[in-house]
């Protein structure tokens, strides 16, 4: 089992550890998931996400090379700007989702822990003109919540210019870091990459700030679910296309039919056809009646029990104070307001199809001091 550079800190903080994609990671700390979740929505939480893969694609042809694997216009991505993307397969399915940052001619990617080996192999097989470098020497932490910017600004005044989905080099308390304004909670926040040997010092500095408490992967999952953010391996797989998964916005206009560089990525014919005629199933949010959480794998049915889809993620949402679920459903039943049934322990439970996210995103571009962050409107 691999360990994060912050492993000793997690033990010191009393974390309940568990296996995740080959790593032993903190699932929750003594406050437990619900308190960590609510603290993230109210203040700021520190997450260790060092299990995620970090890599660079280096060389002057990197944009063209990557565009053969990703249906996003990377040539149009400004330097330091980030874009949420996916690797597509020949069947149109999603091989992984990732966040890519333009560093000039080079690109930086953050990939899922469980797909690290696959993705690096995929990149190295198909990219021949650029070098693919994995940054195993780096730790990755996320500071998430409405107070995250205020905290980071206190330690790094230069951070005030960092907009949402932008990355830059900063020194935080003397530690050189790559900081991006991004995250996986629906809140304003930052992801900070730094050499592993400096991670402990920086994590402790951040935890010393009065607003910051540690949060584990359990809260990360409940927060992303409320924010309607898909999890690869659960909500998306090689059997779901970006159109079915409702992330067709990651496919740039120039890569669509009629665009300047239309197609040219794996599965383009299938995906572009779905973009114009629609997919037969769609990814939706659901609000089940009552209090019972509805989990991955639950059948979505109509009254007579006929299956019309499956739940891929669900739990009792701490901020919504009710069960929430997401999943794939026959497109004829995908409109918000539609009543469906969920097959739970042999009984049919009523649920309503709703728009995602369940909790409004509150991404920010400017650093506001002494404000409690009123909602932004950006939608990722």
């Amino acid at each position: 089992m691999l360990r994060s550079p912050l492993h000793d800190l997690h033990i010191e903080l009393g974390a309940k550890m568990g296996p995740f994609a080959g790593f032993e990671m903190p699932l929750w700390y003594p406050d437990k998931i619900v308190a960590e979740h609510k603290h993230t929505r109210a203040e700021a939480s520190l997450f260790d996400i060092s299990h995620m893969g970090q890599a660079s694609i280096v060389g002057e042809d990197s944009a063209s090379e990557l565009e053969r694997l990703i249906p996003t216009d990377l040539k149009a991505l400004p330097v330091q700007k980030m874009h949420y993307c996916c690797f597509t397969g020949d069947n149109g399915g999603i091989l992984d989702d990732l966040v890519i940052t333009c560093l000039g001619q080079d690109y930086f990617v953050v990939i899922n822990a469980a797909r690290k080996e696959h993705d690096l192999n995929h990149l190295r097989t198909h990219i021949t003109k650029s070098a693919v470098l994995e940054h195993t020497e780096n730790a990755l932490i996320a500071l998430q919540g409405p107070k995250a910017a205020e905290v980071l600004l206190r330690l790094t005044p230069q951070i005030c210019d960092l907009n949402f989905m932008t990355m830059g080099d900063f020194a935080i308390k003397g530690v050189p870091c790559i900081v991006s304004r991004s995250g996986y909670t629906g809140e304003d926040g930052f992801e900070i990459s730094m050499p592993a040997e400096t991670a402990m010092k920086l994590a402790k500095e951040l935890l010393n700030e009065p607003e910051v408490r540690p949060a584990g992967l359990g809260a990360r999952d409940s927060l992303r679910l409320e924010a309607g953010l898909r999890l690869y391996g659960q909500d998306m797989s090689t059997d779901t296309t970006p159109v079915e998964a409702g992330i067709q916005w990651t496919i740039s206009k120039s890569r669509r039919s009629g665009g300047a560089r239309s197609g040219g990525f794996p599965g383009a014919d299938i995906i572009l056809d779905q973009l114009s005629s629609g997919a037969s199933r769609r990814f939706v949010g659901m609000l089940p009646n009552g209090r019972a959480p509805v989990r991955h794998g639950t059948e979505i049915c109509i009254k007579d029990g006929t299956s019309i889809g499956q739940v891929t993620s669900g739990l009792f949402a701490p901020s919504v104070q009710a069960p929430i679920a997401m999943g794939y459903i026959d497109r004829n039943y995908a409109s918000p307001g539609t009543q469906v049934k969920l097959l739970l322990r042999g009984k049919l439970l009523s649920a309503e199809i709703v728009r995602l996210p369940f909790v409004k995103h509150r991404y920010q571009n400017t650093v506001k001091i002494q404000s409690s962050s009123t909602g932004g409107k950006s939608n990722v």
Partner: protein, 126 residues
């Protein structure tokens, strides 16, 4: 507390009158599950054999079940848990009880661990 017995699945059964037992999950079990957000209780009159699933327990992270450590008929349920499932985290062996069974075989209690044995059992777990 001497009337409380424990199963290796981290359930407890407490018998004060020799005829019925209250059952629930231990502090160790609630700690492992994390925040409990939903409980589905049995109905009064339901009959169970020892080892049967009598209740559903869901935490934010996972689903689990309460298996009764003793056989019997449900005579009382803790309805407060339906609106306040977190009680199981806060007070697993007192206010967080699940149900009371009229025992079909009180001698089953003797096959379970006593307080000291259970403490030793959990201290040997990871």
């Amino acid at each position: 507390m001497s009337n409380t017995r424990y199963s290796s699945d981290h359930e407890w059964a407490r018998c004060d009158d020799g005829e019925s037992a209250t059952i629930g999950i231990t502090d160790y079990a609630q700690e492992q599950l994390g925040d409990i957000v939903f409980v589905e209780l049995p109905s009064i009159g339901d009959n169970f054999e020892a080892g049967d699933e009598v209740a559903v327990i869901e935490s934010v992270k996972a689903a689990a079940e309460l298996k009764t450590p003793v056989s019997g008929t449900v005579v009382e349920i803790n309805e407060d848990l339906e609106d306040a499932p977190e009680t199981v985290n806060e007070s697993p062996v007192e206010d967080g009880w699940f149900c009371r069974l009229e025992l079909s075989d009180a001698s089953e209690l003797d096959t379970l661990m006593d307080e000291d044995e259970y403490q030793e059992y959990t201290s040997n777990l990871e």
